[in-house]
């Protein structure tokens, strides 16, 4: 933005990481950042479709969705939300370490982020295992016998409608988990490259853009948690 700060050597037009089709490092960085945001917007629309389907079916089959949702474990859901929020902070700290040129801290925060991501996936595996055991996985083995307690009134739930909830549950959390797996892979590669000294205060765009991706995946979970786990818990 402001050229008055172009004192750092890295903003020079001869940086080793500068591709020949960019005028300078700032232009290169802004271009990469814009491209990343355009990708994230497509991600928002992609998950938006899932959220839209969820919303419509939830409005159509509210009682079944509430009864099925109450089969999910709030403790694991809240724990995973916390894990992802903490990982977002470590990502911010990693970007900050890259800006400061602190290689050890950068590698450390990237590794912690990967570990938190793996913790999230581990908890997800525990939850999925429980779903298999309770026959809550959509398909020929699906079984659901439950009633929804609407303030003292026991309303029997149509298993087909509950199956719809679990279909959306697996589609949404599964897609989210896939993004987490990709994120963990991405951050592992970044950690190795950071260890080898690929990044400097003048060039840390990959760290920053991977961070943007990680935050978006975090935001999707911020919405998935209340929508899937917290339907009509008060009765």
């Amino acid at each position: 933005m402001s050229d008055s700060h172009a004192t750092a050597v890295d903003t020079a037009e001869s940086h080793p990481q500068l591709r020949h089709h960019f005028a300078n490092m700032e232009q290169q960085k802004n271009t990469a950042s814009l491209g990343m945001w355009l990708f994230l917007v497509t991600e928002i629309m992609f998950f938006g479709g899932l959220f839209c389907a969820y919303l419509i079916y939830r409005l159509m089959h509210f009682n079944a969705f509430a009864a099925a949702s109450q089969q999910l474990d709030i403790k694991w859901g809240a724990f995973n939300t916390a894990v992802l929020l903490v990982s977002s902070v470590t990502v911010v700290l990693a970007v900050r370490a890259a800006q400061d040129g602190n290689r050890k801290q950068l590698v450390g925060y990237l590794v912690i982020t990967v570990l938190l991501g793996l913790t999230f996936l581990g908890v997800k595996a525990i939850e999925y295992k429980e779903k298999f055991e309770k026959h809550h996985v959509p398909g020929p083995t699906f079984a659901f016998t439950n009633t929804f307690d609407d303030n003292g009134k026991q309303i029997p739930v149509n298993p087909k409608e509950a199956e719809l909830f679990f279909s959306l549950y697996f589609a949404m959390t599964g897609m989210h988990a896939l993004h987490m797996i990709i994120g963990c892979g991405l951050f592992s590669v970044l950690a190795v490259l950071a260890w080898k000294g690929h990044y400097s205060p003048g060039y840390y765009t990959p760290i920053e853009n991977a961070g943007l991706y990680w935050h978006l995946v975090d935001i999707i979970w911020i919405y998935l948690f209340p929508l899937l786990y917290l339907i009509s818990r008060h009765s």
């Binding site: 945001w37 629309m45 479709g49 900050r96 975090d218 009765s235």
Partner: protein, 97 residues
């Protein structure tokens, strides 16, 4: 690339992280209080506050050097709003005969 851009202080990031954790705890607590039709409203409101904080401060949209970035972000959410509102405008009014 100036030194004042994009650099968030560590203390602020950690404080914001703690704030987000507190909001998560509030969402869980609020889910167990009977607010009638407002339960999902409160849950989504808190989620939106959390998401907004992440977008503005962790993803550095606030104070982004490129105005274009803000335009892209806002257009993304704008089209998401169109997707959700027009779909719901259809499904929610189908029973009106």
């Amino acid at each position: 690339m100036s030194e004042h851009e994009h650099v968030t202080s560590r203390a602020f990031s950690i404080a914001l992280g703690i704030g987000l954790l507190v909001l998560t705890a509030i969402t869980v607590k609020a889910a167990f209080i009977n607010l009638g039709a407002f339960n999902p409203v409160v849950a989504l409101l808190i989620a939106t506050v959390k998401a907004t904080l992440v977008v503005l401060f962790f993803m550095h949209v606030k104070g982004a050097s490129e105005k274009l970035t803000s335009v892209v972000v806002i257009s993304g959410f704008f089209f998401l709003a169109i997707l959700l509102s027009l779909s719901l405008a259809d499904y929610l009014t189908r029973s009106w005969r």
